[in-house]
């Protein structure tokens, strides 16, 4: 895993641990905020509707009170008819003020009051009609006692002022009020597009709720209007008048505040996440750099220990050879030559091990390799060393060709390393077996020896750097770690099985290349 990937992983962990609580808080907070915002909007609209209803009730009560006062003051006068007509100038909302008696022609009788009500009015009872649309504005016919039996004062209340009041109610930019009569007909509409229904008497989407509200059925606080728009509504009713008032506001506008807070919170959460990621990434990188530096120092120390140990050993041998040579005894010359040759070979392998460490596998440059041929090539490469040690090498081929892709040099270095270890671990006269096989999508290259095996406690650290126990002077402990590095760079892995006294088996698993049937164009064996 690269340092960058480790840094990203660490960053993600830091971010997740820091931001998830923030996100959870934001989600629940927003939900609560949204619910409270809707509730608050609805309460505000209800309050406006209640205020409007109260104003309407007061206005109607004032008009009727004024009519009562006029009735009492004027009806008994001899010029009552003229005075009533004259009063229209001062009370324009009291239209068609007239005296009503049993002799009043039918055309003069308030048209929305039936016979029973007229009779009641003449008996001295105050009567009023339902509201209706007269000409262009809502109206109500009212008759009040005149103080004289058989006479009443009647007027048609012009409720245009109420219509104006309702139409002038504005909530936010798009909120408006509606007023309905007892049957759900719209009598005033703040929404311009709904005003036609005031004059035409056509029901609107809210009409059923309005008429139900007057009968005591609560009206919905969230509804859709005739245009399908989502609305929040506050309702109030005037049971005496039979009117209901709805104050509506499009939900998107009413909840704009909550939405703005939501956006701020979402932005804050995102910003926190970004900051966490940036800070986490920066800290992770810094930490990894420090760790790497420390590791490098440790590695350098281990290398220094290994190199000092091995080169010190070689130095002692070379000092002994030097002392032997200083004797100028020709009899020692063959031994001196042999010893120097051995030391040169040891130092060459030493250099070679380090050299392998510097070569990186590059997947883009991988070539096809057939493992049966590869095994034969490895055997040929180790044949000389095995012969010196009097160890045989057997190759057990797979039944068919097995192709992998890889860096042939590095893979052979890895295989030769394993084979050399196996030879060194084997008793003279025994054999090392190279076996090629297949397991599902992997090709297997196995190196088996019949040596003394590896102690179980040693297995766990077998692939750690500079951990070789074969301190013979020719091993710096980089062989197996390098093998593992090479195999990992090929997308494979190395496993080991060892039973003390029964030898060891090292297996390289390498991914098979895609097409096993076609022959590669590149050569399969080392030159």
């Amino acid at each position: 895993m690269t340092r960058r990937r480790i840094a990203l992983l660490l960053t993600a962990l830091i971010a997740a641990s820091g931001v998830i609580p923030v996100l959870l808080l934001a989600i629940f907070g927003l939900r609560i905020l949204g619910d409270r915002g809707e509730r608050a909007s609805q309460e505000a609209l209800e309050a406006i509707a209640a205020q409007a209803a109260a104003r309407i009730a007061t206005y109607i009560a004032q008009q009727r009170e004024m009519l009562r006062a006029i009735g009492t003051a004027v009806a008994d006068e001899s010029d009552a008819v003229r005075r009533l007509a004259d009063i229209a100038l001062d009370a324009p909302s009291l239209g068609k003020l007239r005296l009503l008696s049993a002799d009043t022609p039918q055309r003069e009788v308030p048209r929305m009051l039936d016979r029973d009500r007229i009779a009641a009015a003449l008996r001295g009872t105050e009567v009023a009609s339902e509201t209706y649309i007269a000409e262009l504005s809502p109206a109500m016919d009212v008759c009040v006692p005149s103080g004289k039996p058989g006479r009443a004062v009647c007027a048609t209340l012009d409720l245009l002022e109420l219509q104006r009041q309702v139409q002038r109610i504005r909530v936010g930019e798009q909120g408006y009020a509606l007023a309905f009569d007892r049957s759900g007909h719209l009598v005033a509409a703040g929404s311009g597009s709904m005003r036609a229904a005031v004059l035409s008497g056509e029901p609107v989407a809210e009409s059923p709720f309005a008429s139900a509200l007057v009968k005591g059925t609560p009206a919905p606080a969230r509804l859709r209007n005739g245009e399908g728009r989502d609305l929040i509504a506050g309702w109030a009713s005037l049971p005496d008048l039979g009117w209901s008032i709805a104050v509506e506001q499009p939900a998107d506008e009413a909840l704009r505040g909550a939405r703005t807070a939501l956006h701020f919170l979402a932005f804050g959460a995102a910003l926190t996440l970004l900051i966490s990621i940036a800070v986490g990434y920066m800290l992770a990188r810094r930490m990894l750099t420090a760790l790497e530096l420390e590791e490098r120092f440790k590695t350098a120390g281990r290398i220094a220990v290994g190199v000092t140990h091995d080169l010190g050993h070689r130095l002692i041998v070379l000092q002994q050879i030097e002392q032997l040579a200083a004797m100028n005894d020709a009899d020692y010359l063959p031994r001196i030559r042999e010893s120097i040759g051995a030391e040169v070979g040891t130092l060459r392998r030493f250099v070679s091990d380090f050299s392998d460490l510097t070569r990186e596998a590059k997947p883009a440059e991988f070539l096809p390799i057939e493992l049966n041929a590869f095994a034969e090539s490895v055997r040929a490469g180790g044949q000389g060393y095995a012969k010196e040690a009097n160890i045989g090498i057997d190759v057990q081929r797979a039944p068919s060709d097995l192709w992998v892709r890889g860096d042939r040099y590095l893979l052979e270095r890895a295989a030769l390393n394993l084979m050399r270890n196996a030879i060194e671990a084997s008793e003279p006269g025994s054999a090392v077996r190279l076996r090629v096989g297949r397991a599902e999508h992997d090709a297997l290259f196995t190196v088996e020896d019949q040596g003394g095996g590896i102690a179980p406690e040693r297995i766990a650290t077998l692939f750690d750097s500079f951990s070789s126990t074969k301190r013979t002077g020719a091993h710096v402990g980089m062989g197996l770690p390098n093998v593992r590095r090479i195999v990992a760079a090929h997308g494979g892995r190395i496993t080991v099985k060892s039973i003390p006294g029964n030898g060891s088996t090292f297996t390289l698993s390498l991914p098979l290349s895609g097409d096993q049937s076609s022959s590669p164009s590149a050569p399969a064996t080392m030159p």
Partner: protein, 419 residues
């Protein structure tokens, strides 16, 4: 590549999606009547007269005559005008306008025209009525069988008892090319259909009802100066001194406040007077929309206040013709200045109360409108209380709607629509 080229060619050859043509639908209430250039001014359809029939002259906002179907107009005297007719003018059937057409068209308007050196000499046939006042009412037409052809930008496309359709003779981009006048039974229906969007133009809207249209996104409110003034006219038999006192008290701000809540009047005459002159009670005849004005006048008359009779128009006219009144509510023309001749000159067609003032007659005959107004003030026929502005509600897609100085919708052919 080939397919792309083919697709491009097909796309290029496909006609663009058609857009619905903009139609002005004018909501009115009452019987639609027939559209004719003469004798049918009370029909609703007459509102289309200035779009279908042209006048030789029109009038600008300053009250000056401007050639319309005429190429030039010269005032030879107050009674005689010299007019050259535009030679490129044609009727809606494509035939050119001749001097004979013009002469025949002017005759019903009380004008006589004779040819003279390639022009027409036009004079009033009615004693005392100036030619230019009559000329403003004269529409040029040609009668073909039972139809009247006009030279205006529009022609009648079809008509039913409740709808008159007019189409622009030569469609113009960015202008109104189709107009429909739809007659409803009541103002309530007309308002409801306008609010609903079935119609998009309504005129003669009282300010009291403007509340309905405020905040309606598809409509705009336009205003224009009114031509008529709500007035209280006097019985000419009342003494001049009394009429002068009445003019001051009835034309006062107090009457305007009582009758109109004070805020709707562009102008009025008179001033404050401590009280009415002593005398018998004055009977007020009223009709139609003037009930409050009549009551207000009775209120300020205090001790002289008499009976207020709110009558149907026919009864009111009958009472006035019989001089059976002291005061009568009315809405006489106040503009253009020459209208004064039609209303206040002795024997003028709109002089319903029979007002006669030699000084006014002399000034009218001389074409001196300023002097005529001064003479009216010296011997007032009534108190001019309130000139109310004209109000219309129109589709917001019309960018420059304005009401004409002479007739409310005379400028409609010039209105532009949003492209």
């Amino acid at each position: 590549m080939y397919r792309l080229l083919l697709f491009s060619i097909i796309l290029g050859c496909t006609s663009p999606p058609s857009r619905e043509a903009f139609v002005v639908k004018l909501a009115m209430w009452g019987p639609l009547g027939e559209l004719a250039p003469t004798g049918n001014e009370t029909a609703l359809a007459s509102i289309a007269q200035p779009w279908v029939y042209e006048r030789l002259v029109t009038i600008d906002a300053a009250g000056e005559l401007r050639p319309s179907l005429a190429a030039s107009v010269d005032r030879l005297s107050n009674k005689e005008l010299r007019v050259e007719v535009r030679r490129d003018a044609t009727f809606s059937d494509g035939t050119p306008v001749t001097d004979v057409d013009v002469i025949q068209s002017l005759e019903p308007a009380g004008l006589r025209a004779i040819k003279s050196d390639g022009a027409l000499l036009i004079e009033s046939r009615q004693e005392g009525l100036p030619a230019d006042a009559l000329l403003l009412n004269a529409l040029i037409f040609r009668r073909v069988q039972d139809k009247f052809l006009g030279t205006g930008p529009f022609a009648v496309a079809s008509q039913t008892p409740t709808e008159l359709r007019l189409a622009r003779r030569i469609p113009a981009a960015g202008r109104i090319n189709d107009v429909r006048i739809i007659a409803y039974d009541t103002p309530r229906d007309a308002f409801a259909h306008t609010l609903k969007g079935d119609t998009n133009l309504i005129v003669d809207v009282e300010s009291r009802w403007l509340e309905f249209f405020r905040g309606v996104p598809s409509l705009q409110i336009i205003r224009g100066t009114g031509r008529s003034t709500d007035s209280i006219l006097f019985n000419p038999e009342l003494p001049r001194s009394e009429r002068l006192q009445l003019e001051r008290i009835l034309g006062s701000q107090r009457v305007r406040d009582l009758a109109y809540d004070g805020g709707e009047c562009a102008e009025g005459s008179g001033g404050d007077e401590p009280g009415p002159p002593a005398g018998r009670p004055l009977r007020v005849v009223s009709w139609g929309p003037f009930e409050r004005l009549a009551l207000a006048s009775r209120r300020v008359l205090a001790d002289r206040a008499g009976e207020v009779s709110q009558l149907v128009p026919e009864e009111a006219v009958s009472r006035v013709r019989n001089r059976d009144f002291d005061l009568v509510t009315a809405r006489p023309l106040r503009w253009p200045p020459s209208a004064l001749a039609l209303v206040w000159r002795t024997g003028a067609p709109y002089n319903l109360i029979g007002y006669s003032n030699p000084a006014v007659d002399r000034a009218v005959d001389a074409g001196d409108w300023r002097a005529a107004h001064a003479a009216l003030r010296q011997d007032p026929p009534g108190a001019f209380v309130c000139t109310r502005e004209q109000i219309a509600v129109v589709d917001v897609r019309i960018v420059n709607p304005r009401l004409g100085p002479y007739e409310a919708l005379e400028t409609l052919p010039e209105w532009e629509i949003v492209r």
